[in-house]
Symmetry: C2
Subunit: 397 residues, 2 copies
Amino acid sequence: MNATSPSPAAGPSYAAPVRPAAGFLPASKIGLVAMVGRGDPDVIPLWFGEGDLTTPAFINEAANRALAAGETFYTWQRGIPPLREAIAEYTRRVYGIACGPERITVTGSGMQAILLTCQALIGRGDNAVIVGPIWPNIVHCVELQEGEPRQIDLAFDGANWSLDLDRLFAAVDERTRLIFVNSPNNPTGWTMPSEMQKALLDFCRERRIWLVADEVYARLVYDRPVAPSFLEHAGPDDPLIVVQSFSKPWAMTGWRLGWVTSPDSFGDLLAKLTQINTSGSPAFLQHGALAAIREGEPFLAEMVERCRVGREVVLQGLARFPRVRIARPEAAFYAFFGVDGMDDSLEFAKRLVREAKVGLAPGTAFGDGGEGYLRLCFASAPERLQRAMDRMAPLLS
Amino acid sequence: MNATSPSPAAGPSYAAPVRPAAGFLPASKIGLVAMVGRGDPDVIPLWFGEGDLTTPAFINEAANRALAAGETFYTWQRGIPPLREAIAEYTRRVYGIACGPERITVTGSGMQAILLTCQALIGRGDNAVIVGPIWPNIVHCVELQEGEPRQIDLAFDGANWSLDLDRLFAAVDERTRLIFVNSPNNPTGWTMPSEMQKALLDFCRERRIWLVADEVYARLVYDRPVAPSFLEHAGPDDPLIVVQSFSKPWAMTGWRLGWVTSPDSFGDLLAKLTQINTSGSPAFLQHGALAAIREGEPFLAEMVERCRVGREVVLQGLARFPRVRIARPEAAFYAFFGVDGMDDSLEFAKRLVREAKVGLAPGTAFGDGGEGYLRLCFASAPERLQRAMDRMAPLLS
């Protein structure tokens, strides 16, 4: 089957055969909704996972200084040494654990960290057990590697999201190469409790399965300074790969910089993969990231406050709609809400763009279990969010 | 075999199994040489494929302006529209052909363009026929995809490099998904003649095999304004993927920006792959690239002149050593020279670092056929190159 190009029904025709695993990648469902509103300045765009603040000036200035100083050559695959040291220091400061720079690898975004990790771990016939609902790209990374994604969804009881760990364990077999957990979770805001993290890491250690923890929302929490991290239970040689990103805490989505905390040997493997993926991240951008992680706590505090206010506007707005059910998100910057009677979230999201001029993400973008839900990013100005809530009233009431 | 981790002999042990195709990736041979000289400021580093000039100020300033203007959000996977339009315009201007922006995709380096192309085309059991000697990363991309690289080397007759096209065709079979040609060639400087390009493209069109042309040195030529391009023979729907880069012509190696010219449908496939690799390249960096391609001809002319002078210094220097054989490079910025009696180029390159304080790349980094050769990058100040030539005399005489 490998030798054939996708059938015409599956998409475009090509001048010569392409690999089915690539040709069959689906279009982004968020992208399909965004396409409806493309070029319409009246649409309030709350569909993507980013806020409306630009990167703060102190970060830009640090990057500019490095650029002017001539940091424009090839650089270290695992990241410039001062940034790796600063991230290790940040890890010690935020989590109160031991962590040296040999466990840190800078990547060209959290997304790239996940892709590289899948390149490192997943081949044909392997599988990855993934806690859902989940950002779709992770599933697609596994599929691109010709592995099998096994998504185990959180359950929603009308008030809270919860994970049945036994169901997760039951999905694991001898070809499971990794278990993927995004906590705090995009889209639900669910956060895995610390004791559950310990139990899951114990399981992975015993079974020799990599635990890949996407903790990019670790600092966007509303009732404590930081979300529980698997790092708090792990030694330096445990099979744990924690993915973090500069994007969300420091309004740097457009910079494409993230990092991985892992055993040193796995970081070296990431470096070899980086060499043939992008060869590394621009050194002068890494100097911006260095400023963010060293001096970024005041901005982060503002960011969290802004999101906290946005969360209240959205929760109060949604409370007016009897068709809507939602768990109060304790972290991340999304409202993921169910709408009674909505049986096609993709079509409904397109209608919201056309009729209400509000851009949301359809729940099915996060797996089939997301049908019936919509995701709204509340990292925006409160008046903008209020306007969106008002506009949606005719369709959600 | 997929379920096992690499044997201890193959490298480090891991906390849990890694994918063999990733775990077995070899260390960079250039990196092994560079490690010998790491931290020694006396070493003259001519091992990497970059010059000693920093990015020109007009490019930096354009990026700074976009950064200050708040271009710090997620952006278009295929690149910002003005950059795609400017690259199409550049293509029309430089090659005198029709080309619209729908054929252009911006990538996070030429390297990433090649990796994405391999993700798109190569799976287990497929093969790629590659003209060598060649930059090793291309071979490793094919291996990471569990494909088989089939390297057909240029022949050196003591004065010139040449390709036997019939040998290349004979390596093709029904599982060949792409033919990879880097012209002008790193490391030899060999440039495929236009009539041979036409014959090869005709072959690929007829056999429905993708022709992947790495033309990143297209503008670094010494006897004409631009090297012959496969683009001059191709229509918009031919199975041709041309990889270009901002790195070499505009001293932007550290920016990680390149582009692909391909059929529109293949560009859309690259966009889907980009979504799950890095999600796109920073928009503010793309504004720097926009300045480079629109206003970069004067700098490029200086760059070519600098390389032309460097080439003469190196060729005259090498001519003093009777053990050395070299073809006068008509393009790119490397001297790839054979040394009579040198049977281990990796060890010899390490000795050059230790004893002569000069950093070169070993020929075997470019395939087994590169044994007996060394690569020197002459995109440096002439006095620096002269000093390197003098220092090498005791080992090369």
